[in-house]
């Protein structure tokens, strides 16, 4: 793995959530627009696998995130937050539609994002 050469490997996720590391390469996305695209381009079996694993750990993850002011997360904490933001993105696909897409909906890719809330920057 990258980083091993240096002898010290930066953790991908906080230690307590190492079980979720397999999701980091694909499911940590830089912003909401990319999260929407990831949902639309992923098959439902993979979405449900991610959803189930994250939901199972959701309360614990949020309890951990509550210990940090937004804007002060270490890098591995930012990855963990971004996994949770991805859970928010895929929740309707699983809970409402059983499909990546809004059932019979207006094509969501016709929405252009003009302004986004930063994933990790301080807000207060």
């Amino acid at each position: 793995m990258a980083g091993a050469m240096a002898g010290v490997m930066a953790p991908v996720l906080p230690e307590a959530f190492a079980d979720l590391e397999r999701f980091v390469p694909e499911w940590v996305q830089p912003d909401a627009e990319h999260r929407m695209a990831k949902r639309l381009s992923t098959d439902m079996a993979a979405i449900k696998d991610f959803y189930a694993a994250m939901l199972d750990r959701g309360e614990a993850v949020l309890a951990w995130l509550r210990g940090y002011a937004l804007g002060e997360l270490p890098p591995e904490g930012e990855n963990l937050l971004r996994l949770m933001l991805m859970l928010a993105e895929v929740a309707p696909a699983v809970e409402w539609y059983d499909n990546q897409r809004v059932y019979d909906g207006f094509p969501v890719e016709r929405l252009r994002y003009l302004h986004q809330i930063s994933d990790t920057a301080a807000q207060v």
Partner: protein, 414 residues
């Protein structure tokens, strides 16, 4: 079971409160006729004010944003000057007409410099620098500043008027609706997502989409309906509609149902500012919001005719805005405003709110281009409105009355 679990289901009788609006079927011509659309532009749109942003977007002197008003093909530059005043200009260089600021938002060091020939303007719009000035012929630089656009502030929202001489003041335009909804903590929701889409439909269809909840149990069976229609309100009735001049507000009745699993995480563990009844408000609810003071209130749809509707709950709100481009073409703007997250967990609650609202609007919007097709082809010539679709009937009434008054005005009768 507590008392809240058996609320009364709202009755029929909204339309009867406003007999002047009528009860019959309405002609759909105003939804597609090009001549009517042209008249609407003159009689309604050029005489209205338009919200283009909030003061928080220009928090510090030098902060700016630009906004394109597609209906008028006008580009606006908003900034805060060194005295702390918000200013709005036509974003047009007085040399040859290029934009003086091409970025969507940012911070200026004090000068906006056109990227065409380098003319520069200060935060008050004064022309400060022009290259190779000796090659011009008797220019009066004092007359070549950026042209201000009529601008006004209401509750931190920045409004502009496309006409140099507004037909009415912003205060007159906002009327009782503005007065009765002032005081809500509009500025507390400092964080927002903003998206836009082009939709092949008349502007009124975009307004109609959230303006009735008769459709909720049918169009939103798995999303909005289970949480909003719990408690036996199976027909999706409103608490009330209150007309204030050309504007109006729908008060939504609902009782929180059983949230879905991820909603539970957001509501219970991440302080998501959801549409839930709250009794711990840190502000006094203005008289124009939840006007019936019902304990079963969740959301008001606050319409500022002709193009802006807020869906507003105790803790957050969205702005649903349409910019007409033609009789069957519009630009839709959606803004989701939420309170700032303190902890990293609360950021998840914000995202949940945005995604839910976005997907529910996508459900709503499935109908728009299909309806427009039926209108354009003459397949539907009348609309028959339910009592709880009163807001649509009122819009039809306001448009028809305004166009008729405009006709009389043009004929010199008033």
């Amino acid at each position: 079971m507590n008392e809240m679990s058996k609320p009364p289901v709202p009755g029929i009788g909204i339309t009867a409160k406003y007999p002047e609006v009528g009860t019959g079927p309405v002609d759909t011509a105003i939804y597609h006729d090009p001549a009517i659309y042209e008249k609407e532009m003159a009689a309604i749109f050029r005489r209205s004010w338009f919200m283009i942003g909030r003061v928080e977007q220009v928090a510090q002197p030098g902060d700016f944003f630009t906004f394109y008003m597609p209906t008028f093909r006008q580009e606006v530059l908003v900034c805060r000057d060194r005295n702390g005043e918000v200013r709005a200009f036509h974003n047009v260089c007085t040399h040859r007409g290029n934009v003086v600021e091409h970025r969507r938002e940012g911070h200026s060091n004090g000068l906006f410099t056109c990227r065409f020939h380098g003319w520069s303007f200060d935060l008050q719009g004064n022309l400060k620098g022009l290259r190779d000035e000796e090659g011009f012929f008797g220019l009066d630089k004092t007359c070549l500043g950026l042209k201000p656009i009529p601008m006004g502030l209401w509750q931190g929202f920045i409004w502009v008027c496309p006409e140099d001489e507004p037909h009415q003041s912003l205060e007159e335009f906002l009327g009782d609706q503005g007065r009765d909804t002032a005081g809500y903590p509009w500025g507390a929701c400092t964080q927002f997502y903003q998206t836009e889409a082009e939709v092949a439909c008349n502007w009124k269809l975009v307004n109609d989409s959230p303006a009735e909840v008769y459709h909720i149990p049918v169009l939103h069976p798995n999303s909005a309906a289970p949480t909003m229609m719990a408690s036996g309100n199976v027909m999706g009735r409103l608490l009330d509609v209150e007309v204030r001049g050309n504007h109006r507000t729908n008060s939504h009745y609902s009782v929180m149902g059983e949230p879905k699993p991820v909603q539970k995480l957001a509501y219970y563990h991440a302080a998501a500012a959801q549409n839930v009844v709250r009794d711990d408000l840190e502000y006094e609810m203005p008289v124009g919001i939840n006007a019936t003071r019902s304990p079963f209130w969740t959301v008001d749809l606050i319409m500022f005719f002709p193009t802006l509707a807020f869906t507003l709950s105790a803790g957050m709100y969205t702005a649903h805005q349409v910019w007409p481009l033609g009789p069957n073409k519009s630009i839709y703007h959606q803004r989701v405003f939420v309170r700032p997250a303190t902890t990293a967990a609360e950021r998840f609650g914000q995202e949940n709110t945005m995604v839910e609202y976005r997907d529910i609007v996508m459900e709503d919007f499935s109908t728009l281009e299909r309806i427009q097709r039926a209108l354009d082809s003459g397949q539907i010539r009348e609309f028959h409105y339910h009592d709880h679709e009163f807001a649509l009937r009122h819009q039809h009434h306001v448009v028809s009355q305004t166009l008729a008054a405009y006709d009389r005005e043009q004929a010199g009768e008033i």
